[in-house]
């Protein structure tokens, strides 16, 4: 990997983390003194992606805006890494007219046709539409690929299986990415999944499967490159599983009482680790790092301001957009 790429991906990770930290702050800011999930400027469930930044930035580094990405209930890192406007993302999270879905969707339902981005709150059900995008790309003779993302818990859902088989049978240009953060809410992977690595499941479809350990940005990048290249050149789908980290709770408000590994979590944060790596390589120093953080903060705060000043949807418009 080139150092410029390293730096670029590092900056993206910082941007994502800054975004998630800011949403965290804003989400909780006005729910006090009695914490009420429906209260405040940002209501509803909130699934943040801190700890999983390496997956998103390393995968999306191999994509262009012509490629599709379908994400999950935990979509911000992939949205940002794939190039979504922070302003329109933030505005959607605040439920405003300038949001990607004019406030209709919310944080689990982000649709940005300009970068072929979508997501779904239903486990594994983002996979099938990705097949259709890949099918359309192939039919049009474009070289674009579709990347479909789920968590490791989703790999036990029927849609996962059907999608891998169909994509393989039709040799569709899809890259399936599993973010294994060890947990599906409170259920540990070991209790739910009958196989140690979901990459093994690729064998059930006669396609290549790879597991990337240690949340390693550079390994993910290399594996994703292989997979994207294969898809672009007509070689069909690949399954990648990345062992990543859920740094925070499943959603905000999750006390994580069920989580024995909680103590060691902070030490496994991939961001300081990658920062050290860049320092060791001589790619980054205090200035570069501070610069990345400062720039990220400025961009995110600007997006938040934009969101907060965007109009709240008119109640009378609630039934618009059911049909075109």
């Amino acid at each position: 990997m080139e150092n410029s790429t390293r730096l670029d991906l590092y900056r993206q990770m910082v941007l994502i983390r800054t975004f998630e930290e800011t949403i965290l702050r804003e989400y909780h800011a006005d729910k006090a003194p009695i914490w009420d999930i429906g209260a405040g400027l940002i209501p509803g469930e909130m699934h943040l992606s801190a700890g999983q930044e390496p997956v998103a930035v390393a995968v999306c580094a191999n994509l262009t805006p012509d490629d599709a990405v379908t994400a999950t209930h935990r979509p911000h890192h992939f949205a940002i890494a794939h190039g979504m406007s922070l302003e329109r993302l933030a505005a959607e999270i605040y439920g405003r007219e300038d949001g990607l879905g004019r406030g209709r969707g919310g944080h689990m339902h982000l649709f940005d046709p300009s970068i072929h981005f979508s997501c779904s709150g239903i486990i594994a059900e983002g996979y099938p539409p990705a097949l259709g995008q890949a099918f359309a790309f192939k039919s049009k003779g474009s070289q674009a690929v579709a990347v479909a993302v789920t968590g490791e818990g989703a790999a036990n859902q029927g849609a996962f299986h059907e999608s891998l088989n169909l994509a393989a049978a039709w040799r569709l240009p899809v890259v399936f990415v599993i973010e294994d953060n060890d947990w599906a809410i409170s259920v540990p992977r070991s209790l739910s999944t009958s196989v140690a690595s979901n990459a093994e499941r690729a064998k059930a479809y006669g396609i290549p499967g790879e597991r990337i350990e240690d949340n390693s940005l550079e390994d993910i990048f290399a594996a994703a490159k292989r997979a994207v290249d294969r898809a672009r050149s007509g070689g069909g789908p690949t399954l990648l599983e990345v062992h990543t980290l859920r740094l925070w709770g499943h959603f905000e408000g999750d006390a994580q009482g069920y989580r024995p590994d909680l103590d060691g979590v902070a030490q496994r944060d991939p961001l300081p680790a990658y920062e050290m790596h860049l320092r060791a390589l001589g790619v980054a120093d205090d200035d570069v790092i501070k610069g990345a953080v400062t720039e990220a903060q400025a961009r995110v705060e600007a997006a938040i301001s934009f969101a907060k000043s965007s109009p709240i949807p008119e109640p009378s418009s609630a039934t618009r957009y059911v049909f075109s």
Partner: protein, 345 residues
Amino acid sequence: MVKIETSPQQVTSRKLTVSKAMVEGIAQEMERDPSVIVLGEDVGAYGGIFSSTTGLLERFGPGRILDTPISETAFIGLGTGAAVEGMRPIVELMFVDFFGVAMDQIYNHMAKIHYESGGNVLVPMVLMTAVGGGYSDGAQHSQCLWGTFAHLPGMKVVVPSSPADAKGLMISAIRDENPVVYMFHKGVMGLPWMTKSTHALGDVPEESYTVPIGKAAITRSGTDVTVVTLSLSVHHSLDVADELAKEGIECEVVDLRSLVPLDRATVLESVAKTGRLVVVDEDYQSFGLSGEIAAIIAEEDPRLLRCPMKRVCVPDTPIPYARSLEQATLPTPTRIAAAIRDVMA
């Protein structure tokens, strides 16, 4: 192009079955628009278990007529994703009874993406599916279930009963920018291997034309009682109406044709005229279409009805296999006639 409102203006027409009319509609759109594709189980060489795609593979090839694995979630979702990228997929769910293996893709994705995206994403897709019983196919292969689809927002739901409507509604469905669920009753298709209703054969213009989605058709006018119905039950109701006319009872038969949008105005107008209402519905009785029709009237003016309404529906029971039992649950001509006589009494 001919625009047909209720009955076809014969331009150049011949008699076709519903099945052939549907296929002709699909084929004409496939000629016109290269983004139209068809996918589903046995839609290729087999031509559709209920002849909804006969001959299309031969004509358009395996790149556009695609046999799928038995993976409804994957291939219906594939349709949605392809539609999002500008294609116009027609996806067949072989029997509507199988919706349960793929309903999430249908109602949480196909139906909601347009709304969730604030109108920024279009899903111009047709989900076509066979419905209905009457030939002893048992509890998992005989249902209509249109009430279930019509209850969930974001999809249009059309249910043709005549060959001309079958073609025109298919073309409208394909051209619609929204997802349309197109439900065809096996018993209206005019299949050679199933009891055929005489109404399954009818005039169909050769040209391409649309039938507007959301408009009911008065398939017979009358002054005494309004029969609100759809699909195969239209055929039965028309037959019964002919019989009862001999006794001096004049039925107005309303073929809804579309459940979403629902043509409330036509229903209200007819009931305002006749003052009597029978709803004939091959779906389960409770929490479905017959209730919605009742609500339309109760919301407008309950006193439009000069006597209690009657429902001729499938009772709330799984559809039995044995013919004696199945026939007892279906809205047969006998049951329809009895209900009409009841409201006239």
